[in-house]
Every structure is written in structure tokens, then in C-alpha cells.
Symmetry: C2
Subunit: 425 residues, 2 copies
């Protein structure tokens, strides 16, 4: 590992920032075909470098095993023949996405004849700070490139060799397409001071930071960053079943929202059931979850349903379990559900299941979350499911990007105005 | 004046933040008609309170005169019968703008039948920090209200009484429409520590800060704010005359861009003339400016034109004069002009005058400014001229809002998803 003194890290990072800004200028004006070529070449390079990437990954795994790690951690870190193919396919898929840069997102004419266009431009330089998943190197690198941004990748020390091997393939793609190699830089040190430097904004050379990882990483980035952050701290997602609701649909959506994958940010953590629906729906919903091996922590009204239901405490309502656990509460109607979500939710993703469209509209309007759904699973909180092709993450902030952050959300815009000699009176 | 101890200011400001957030929740869900009513009532109240506002303004003027102020400062501070009418008319004009909240800005269906809508929502709480112009109280307050945001106004101490009198009218409007009075709060102290508190973000209770005023205010806000800022530090705007260019059009645009109003951010500060155009165009352009009383600071090629041209130094190229002064340079073609603007510009507003549309397209594409114009004056850099109805300012950042910040730019969005039982495979 390439450990350095803190003073060196500062100089190293400032230099990375300057080079990123300079690459961003070139990239921002690069033709679409050039970027597509780079991504296709990078995909090929990843497939061709499989042995090298697996060897680098083996180094990381060996080092990690000395550190008494969990199975989940090892799973995130480990690459296989198939997962490397998937990484390459992801890069090639981004290559095929339409280029957002230059897209005219609005145009209009003023009475004086001036023609206005609002046109997408790149954001500039994106810093991505991630943890043990080496695939983020390729996912984030390719999305930023597609949107015409330079990117500075800062992977976790645990996946340092794997990320470096993947990064080399991305750089090979840039080189082949004649684009600046500095367009995708990987921080070449595992020194933690590098993260602090990125969060400082590198003298104005970083436009946005995207943290990818656990809550402590995101919290640190949100607290310390002096530049905008696209992130969500947590996904405390709710499913609210409101009378009248089809029981089979409610069961199917609740099961999927909670159990499809429990570790994703769009997984449901709390089930709210309308008091009017509870007599018919609560028991089948709770038993379905219990029988699937999900721990249920309920309020008093839920506990009487089944002796296996544990007592929920005040700490359960804002909890993001990311596990086979769900909090269940009976609420007194729509407004009580909305109030519960306002108090305990994380403004990420919340769903209502009901046959009453006007009540659903009130829920969609009043629940202040990035994504609100009617009669669909919260697990659709994903850029791919939205049709964005790919995402770099999900944001719960209100600035610039909200919800899934895909290539379009990684752009800015400018105004182009065409006249024929207009002057302002 | 209501001066307080710093400790008190901290508590006072935290309380203002909490009340703003709570008002923002109500306002975010308020019907359009309610907001329109509030603004119309506020406009009426301003007209009805003319005597009171003028008396308050007289107090401010008296205090200011004791401080050896400039004529320009006094001009910004002074209200008249007519200017109060204009303030009221501005509020009533914002009342008539379409409500951006709830507007569907995109909708699409995925193959699984899910219907997606991207819908405008308010941003939340906006803090506006301004200086001596009391009219900002009404302009900023009404725009934020229209977009469903709560606003915290922090006016300069010089216009404290005037701003307070105008603010009372806005609150009267809110009251009459049954909206929370805390939706538009004026910081009731002139203690400068209040600004620091606002810039801290008031414990997450401010979503964006908008500074309105001189460069030192904007610089302080950009440096210290821990929340996003919509602003421009300066407008070093260029007009580039490129061969072939109609001389009369070039004269008309250059004259308007520089001389219409020299103190606005969209005023041209530098004239660049293509080497090929210089033999025919430079002399008439320079003489026109000189004869209009504009000081011309030129490079060597410009100085030989007329003995009244002063020598430009390196400090002139990035200068924002905001006065009857212009820097003039002869450049070697389009790319040299683009490079000059990249080096010395402020990414605000830049224009090209040429009869060659393909060269103009290159300029519009490659100049990285919020607003780029072809054959039109830079003084069109204004939300009203864009058709936005009104603006709270112009932003040169790349995040969220860029260019004129009108009601639409003061909104965020969320995704509404309608299904009929979809679950994620």
C-alpha cells in the first residue's frame, strides 16, 4: 500500500483536484462517440483483465481475512468470474445510454424575438467515496464519464488492489478513445486523510461528493463536506395499508417491500395498518411475515394478533433494520399514517396500498419523501427500475438531485440565447 | 435597534429556524389560491401603509446621513411614493405567476406498467441576506412564498426600519389568507452574529441561502455557509465581436451591454474584437464608447486607435468595474476569445456578435457560463427578460439553480409512482 505522510497527502490530493478540473474541461466538450468508445473499450479491458483483477482481489481477500471480518463483508469484497462479467456489462450498458450533455431540456421565445434554450452541461468534477465494494469503481467511473464529468474515486482500503485493477481498465478505455486519463482518477493512497481533503473540496476543484457505503461514512461526509453531497443517510421506508385495500395485493406488496432483499435502502422497515383495515388485514399480514422468518415488533394492537410478535419500543419506529425485522403499527387513518412517516421517516421512499385513489393522492402529496408510491413495492426505489439505466445512488436531499441519481442528475445546464441584434430597452 | 447579546442571538436564531421549518410544512401543502390571496393582500397592505413605510424609511435615512455615506448608497436606501407603488406592483405580479408547486415536469411509464411522475415541490426554508435595498424584503419574500417556501429575511442594519415596515405588510397578507405568519420572518436584530447563525444552517432548518448585495457579502456567504448558496460573486461579462459581423449591430449591442446600466451584474466589462474584424470595427466601437463618456482601457492594438485609450494592465481583464469603464482587447480568432473568457471570466454571461452561425454555435457550446448569447446584449441576463416573471438573483454555481433564479428554481421535486400491485422481481 502506498501510505504517505499527511503533508504529502494534501499535496497529492490538491494535484489530483487540479488534474481533474483540467480533464473535466476537455471531457465537457468531448463528442458523444468519444465517450462511448472509451466506455466500450473499458468494458473490453475489464473482460480481458479478468485474471489480473481476480489476482488483485485475492490479495485484498487475504488481507481482509487477517482482520476478523464478517461473512457479509467478505461477500461484498469478493469478485468472481461472473461478477467481473457483470461489471463489464454494466460499463457497456452505460456506454449505450443516451448522452445527456447538449440535450435541450426547454426552449421558448420571448416577444422580442429572443430564442432561449436550456441545455444540459456536465457538472464538472465528482468525488465518489466508497467502501469495500470494488464494483463501485466501474459503476461510478462510467456514469460520471457518460455525463461528461471528471471523477475522483476513493475506494476503501479493503478493496484497494481490486479497485486499482479495475481502474486500470477504465484508464485503458480513456486512452484508447483519446480522452484525458485524468478524467477517471483513483486516489492512490489508503491514507484516511485523503477523505478529509476530498471533503474540503480541493480548492474549488470538486463540485459534488457522492458517498457510497454505510451510515457512518455517509454521516461523516454529510457533516464534514464543504461541497454539495448527493446521498441518503438511511432508508426508513414505510408501507401503509389503508382501507379499502385488496388483501392479496397488500400481502404481495408488503412481502416484496420487506423480504425481497432486506439489505437495500428501499426495503420497508415499518408496516402501518389503518385501524379500519386491521380487523381483516393485520393478522394475515403479520402471519405471512412471521412465517417467512421475519421478526415482527408491534404495538399493542399488533401484539394481540400473535404471541410471536415482540413489543416495539420507541426506538423501533425510526429504525433502519436492513434485516429480516419489521416494525408494525396500527394507525387511526390516513393523517395518522402521514404524521407517523413525517416524524420517523427518512424522506426516502414510502408506499400506500389502497383501493381508494383519492386517499392515495393525499398520501402521495403530503408524504414529503423523494419517492412516494401507490400500490407498488418500495423496492422499486432504484434508478434502473425508474428507467434511468443506472444510478450512482439515491439522494434524499432537496437540492439538484433527489431520488435515484442517474446520468441526467449528474449534469448541470446553461442558457443559450439566440438573437438578431436585440438590445435591452 | 434591537441589539442583543451573542448568546441571545443564537437562541433567537435557532427559534426562528424551528418556526420557519414548521411554517414551511404548512406552506408546502397550501393551495395556490391561498398563496395568491396572501400576496394580493400584502400588495394592498403595502399601498395602504405608504405613510408608515416612508416614515420608517426617513428614520433609516437620517441614521445613514450621520454616517458619511455615498450618494449611490443613499439612492439604494431611499424609498419614494413611486418606489413603494413599484414594490407593491412587484408583489402583485408575483401573485399572478403560475404556482410551480405540483407541476408535473416529467412523466413516463415503465414496461411493467408503473407510471412515474416527477412533480415540483417546495425547497423548504430559504434564508435571504441582503444589504441596504429595502425592496428586497418584498421581492424575496413574495417569490419564496409563491414557491411554497418559508423564508428568513436578514436585511442590512441601514434599512432596518424600512424593511420592518414592509415586512409587517407581508405578514398582514399571510394573516389575511390564513397562512402561518412565520412563513416570512424578518430577523428582528441588526446584530451581525445573526448572519453567522444563518450561515450555519440553523440545525438543518435552512435549505439554501441567497445573498443579495455587494461582492464582500457574497464572498463571506460563499466561504462560510454550511448550506447551499444561490449566488454569483461577480459578473465579468464579455462581448466578443467576430468576423464577419455587422458593424451597426455590433455597435448597438456593445453600447447597450456596457452603457444601458453600468451597475448591473449583466453589464459588459470587457470587449474582445477578432483580429480580422479589428481593421474595420475596432475604431468605430472604441470611439462610440469614448464619446459616450466611457473610459476605455485597451491592449496595444487598441491603444493605437485613439490617444484617449488608456493602457490596460493584467488587472483589467478580470475586473468587474460596474462603472463607465471597459477593457478592450484584440484577439486572434474564436478560440483565443473563448480562452480569454475561460481565464478571466466569471461564468456569468457572455455574448458573441457575428454573422457566422456555425462560429456562434462553437462559442455558445464552449464558453462555460450560465448564460451565453448570440447577437444580443448581455444586459438580458435577468429573470424578467427570460420570462420568469421575477428573480431573486442570478446564480453562477452549477448546482440546482444556474442563471436567473425565479420561482421554478426555488423548488425541488419528488417522484410519484402509480401502480396496480407491482412488486419487484
Amino acid at each position: 500500500m502506498n501510505m504517505r505522510e499527511t503533508g504529502d497527502v494534501k499535496a497529492l490530493m490538491r494535484d489530483i483536484g487540479v488534474r481533474a478540473r483540467s480533464a473535466a474541461r476537455v471531457l465537457g466538450l468531448a463528442e458523444s462517440a468519444r465517450k462511448t468508445d472509451a466506455l466500450e473499450a473499458a468494458g473490453k479491458a475489464i473482460r480481458a483483465s479478468k485474471a489480473k483483477i481476480l489476482a488483485a482481489n485475492a490479495q485484498d481477500i487475504e488481507a481482509a481475512k487477517e482482520q476478523n471480518i464478517t461473512a457479509a463483508f467478505l461477500d461484498r469484497l469478493t469478485l468472481t468470474d461472473a461478477s467481473i462479467d457483470a461489471i463489464a456489462a454494466g460499463v457497456e450498458m452505460v456506454a449505450l445510454l443516451p448522452d445527456p450533455v447538449g440535450e435541450v431540456i426547454a426552449d421558448w421565445q420571448q416577444p422580442n424575438g429572443l430564442m432561449f434554450q436550456r441545455v444540459r452541461t456536465p457538472l464538472g468534477v465528482v468525488a465518489v467515496i466508497y467502501e469495500s465494494r470494488p464494483n463501485v469503481t466501474a459503476d461510478a467511473g462510467s456514469l460520471c464519464l457518460k455525463a461528461g464529468n471528471a471523477v475522483i474515486l476513493r475506494g476503501g482500503s479493503d478493496s484497494f488492489h481490486s479497485s486499482r485493477a479495475i481502474h486500470e481498465c477504465l484508464v485503458a478505455g480513456l486512452k484508447e478513445a483519446g480522452l484525458p486519463e485524468d478524467a477517471i482518477q483513483l486516489v492512490p493512497t489508503t491514507d484516511r486523510a485523503a477523505v478529509g481533503e476530498l471533503l474540503s473540496g480541493l480548492n474549488g476543484n470538486i463540485d459534488v461528493v457522492v458517498p457510497r457505503g454505510g451510515k457512518s461514512l455517509v454521516a461523516r461526509v454529510q457533516t464534514e463536506a464543504r461541497v454539495p453531497v448527493f446521498a441518503h443517510l438511511e432508508g426508513v421506508c414505510h408501507v401503509y395499508v389503508h382501507a379499502p385495500a385488496d388483501l392479496e395485493m397488500a400481502k404481495s406488496i408488503v412481502f416484496n417491500a420487506k423480504m425481497r432483499r432486506t439489505g437495500v435502502c428501499g426495503a420497508a422497515e415499518t408496516l402501518l395498518v389503518d385501524k379500519k383495515t386491521a380487523p381483516t388485514h393485520l393478522k394475515p399480514l403479520v402471519e405471512m411475515l412471521l412465517e417467512a422468518g421475519c421478526e415482527v415488533r408491534g404495538d399493542d394492537a399488533t401484539r394481540v394478533i400473535d404471541s410471536r410478535v415482540k413489543a416495539a419500543t420507541e426506538e423501533d419506529w425510526p429504525a433502519e433494520y436492513l434485516d429480516k425485522i419489521i416494525a408494525v403499527k396500527v394507525v387511526d387513518g390516513l393523517q395518522a399514517a402521514i404524521d407517523h412517516i413525517a416524524k420517523y421517516g427518512s424522506q426516502h421512499t414510502d408506499a400506500i396500498v389502497t383501493d381508494d385513489p383519492s386517499e392515495a393522492e393525499i398520501f402521495l402529496r403530503e408524504v414529503d419523501s423523494a419517492i412516494v408510491l401507490h400500490n407498488a413495492s418500495t423496492q422499486f426505489a432504484d434508478g434502473g427500475e425508474f428507467g434511468f439505466g443506472a444510478e450512482i445512488g439515491i439522494a434524499t436531499g432537496r437540492m439538484h438531485a433527489r431520488g435515484p441519481v442517474g446520468v441526467e442528475q449528474l449534469t448541470s445546464f446553461k442558457y443559450r440565447v439566440h438573437g438578431n441584434g436585440q438590445i435591452r430597452p
